[in-house]
């Protein structure tokens, strides 16, 4: 799976499930949690989404705003974990 495919999945999930607004003009580098757009408690949803969609377990203390504040960062984290698995 290349970066663009992962990014599209993350984007779709963020717009539909986290923001609940598919028409929102979300930038790849737009802060989601630190800007207050989504509260950081929604990080549990991100963790379970990554588990089901990519079969990856990201430990709870790794689900931080510093690591996963933008869809770019979430994508990079997924790609790094996928690479580490291989």
């Amino acid at each position: 799976m290349d970066r663009n495919q992962v990014l599209q999945k993350v984007r779709e999930f963020t717009l539909n499930e986290l923001l609940k607004n598919p028409n929102y003009d979300l930038k790849d580098d737009e802060p989601l949690f630190s800007s207050g757009l989504i509260d950081s408690f929604a990080m549990a949803q991100v963790g379970v989404f990554i588990e089901t969609e990519f079969n990856l377990y990201i430990p709870d203390p790794e689900l931080t705003v510093e690591n996963m504040d933008t869809i770019n960062q979430i994508t990079d984290k997924i790609l790094a974990e996928l690479a580490a698995q291989q």
């Binding site: 923001l19 800007s35 509260d39 549990a44 379970v48 430990p59 709870d60």
Partner: protein, 467 residues
């Protein structure tokens, strides 16, 4: 030894002098000895408890790392050890204390009263073991570093809660203090003194303690105002304390986490908990909320599923209540905060997220005033026992009885909000360092002077322990 005392100032200066005179390999050992001496000044027996726990958790960490099968069992053992200790002192020791005759009670006192700092180093031990179990860290092979992680004196009594993976690497490297670091840490100490000694000190002088102790004699405006004053007193006391200990720790080149970020400018209760006692909120989020929430989401991935919205925040806040004190009133406090978060979750159901800047100013202001009111009401069971809490709430529901409240604290509260607003607006807690030289000179001259004046006005030097 209180943080806000001349004894503590002397202690810091002596430990700093010794630390910088020693060669690098002996520096951590000197900090460990200083930390145990500091703990000894609070209670002669509790350093032994800390030492015993340190050895056990250090050993468990290595066992957990090497174990093939049975890793989960070792982790459970480590968690039970720490939770068991906490529960013993929070519930068992307290119950025994109330049933023993006076003579025996005195002999057994160190085994019965909750050791200051245990609430923090027990949670530090638990997160250390869980992180090893999750393979996020390897156990340190340096017992002195690990002992210092649990005992480091600036954070020992009231936090902040530090994670091993952020704290231990700082101990392993050679630490240098640049001129800029020195200025930053001294600024932090000055801000802390301003909050803890001047703002909290003045609010303590004004604090109408009588309505809080005998709520049945007062009407609702007096009671509400007493609560607002208390909430700002507690905030400035705790935030100021944290700034001071962070600054002191920074003088040794050891950075501690930020614990407050303008909590009274939060948009809702969930946001408040990410800005108030941040190190505890993040600990609870990582080791209680997220595991429960993920377990529920795995069963039903929709966040709109009602149990997903209710159980994780309620369970987390009840545990937070228990950590603050094993009393019915603290459990009620946790339940109340949990309920506020659940109501916010239910209110947000199906609503699209909105960028903060897109919300009209009037609504943003009313949201913040509403939040201060909610958090003020939640303070009642935090301060009073269950019976007094009920009386308080009954009196709050009743109308105004004509009594007027003391308006003097209002300017201190306004000053507290102004400091928060300046830091929050610039996204920099040390923004005052960039002020013109004349303004910094005025601050530098007036803050220590005002601290002395306020301490002189108080009948006894303040001792801060949280929770």
């Amino acid at each position: 030894m209180s943080i806000l005392s001349l004894d503590f100032l002397q202690f810091v200066l002596i430990t700093l002098a010794i630390y910088y005179l020693l060669p690098g390999r002996l520096q951590n050992l000197s900090l460990l000895i200083a930390s145990y001496y500091f703990y000894y000044t609070w209670n002669h027996y509790h350093p032994l408890l800390l030492f015993g726990l340190t050895i056990l958790v250090f050993g468990l960490g290595h066992w957990l790392h090497r174990a093939g099968r049975g890793r989960r069992l070792i982790l459970v053992l480590g968690i039970l050890l720490n939770v068991g200790l906490l529960l013993w002192f929070l519930i068992g020791g307290k119950t025994l204390y109330n049933t023993l005759p006076d003579a025996q009670r005195f002999d057994l006192l160190p085994l019965l009263i909750l050791p200051v700092g245990l609430s923090y180093y027990a949670l530090n031990s638990i997160s250390y073991l869980i992180d090893i179990h999750l393979r996020l860290i390897k156990p340190t092979s340096n017992l002195i570093d690990f002992a210092l992680y649990l005992a480091w004196y600036p954070k020992l009594i009231s936090g902040p809660l530090e994670r091993a993976r952020r704290f231990l690497p700082q101990l392993a490297e050679k630490r240098r203090l640049s001129d800029q670091d020195l200025a930053s840490n001294l600024t932090l100490i000055l801000i802390g003194l301003f909050r803890a000694s001047i703002l909290a000190g003045l609010l303590a002088l004004y604090l109408p303690s009588v309505p809080l102790l005998a709520p049945s004699d007062y009407g609702n405006p007096v009671l509400l105002w007493a609560l607002v004053t208390y909430a700002f007193y507690l905030y400035n006391q705790f935030a100021g304390y944290t700034d001071i200990v962070r600054g002191v720790s920074g003088l040794f080149g050891i950075q501690l986490s930020r614990n407050f970020n303008a909590p009274f400018f939060s948009k809702d209760v969930s946001d408040f908990w990410q800005r108030w006692h941040i190190s505890l909120s993040q600990w609870l989020r990582d080791y209680i909320y997220l595991p429960i929430s993920r377990a529920f989401l795995r069963r039903n991935p929709s966040r709109n599923n009602i149990p997903n919205l209710i159980v994780p925040p309620m369970a987390t806040m009840l545990i937070s209540g228990l950590w603050h004190g094993a009393n019915w009133n603290h459990l009620l406090w946790g339940a109340l905060i949990g309920l506020f978060i659940v109501l916010e979750n239910l209110r947000a159901l199906g609503r699209p997220a909105v960028v903060e800047a897109a919300i009209p100013l009037r609504r943003r202001i009313s949201e913040r005033l509403w939040l201060i009111l909610l958090m003020t009401i939640a303070t009642v069971p935090f301060v009073l026992d269950l019976k007094q809490t009920l009386i308080f709430f009954v009196k709050l529901i009743h109308g105004w009885d004509g009594q007027m409240f003391d308006l003097r604290p209002i300017w201190v509260i306004a000053l507290s909000l102004l400091v928060d607003w300046i830091q929050h607006r610039h996204g920099d807690e040390l923004i005052f360092r960039t002020w013109p030289a004349w303004a910094r000179t005025v601050l530098l001259a007036t803050i220590p002077l005002a601290v002395i004046v306020v301490i002189h006005l108080q009948s006894a030097p303040p001792v801060f322990i949280y929770p």
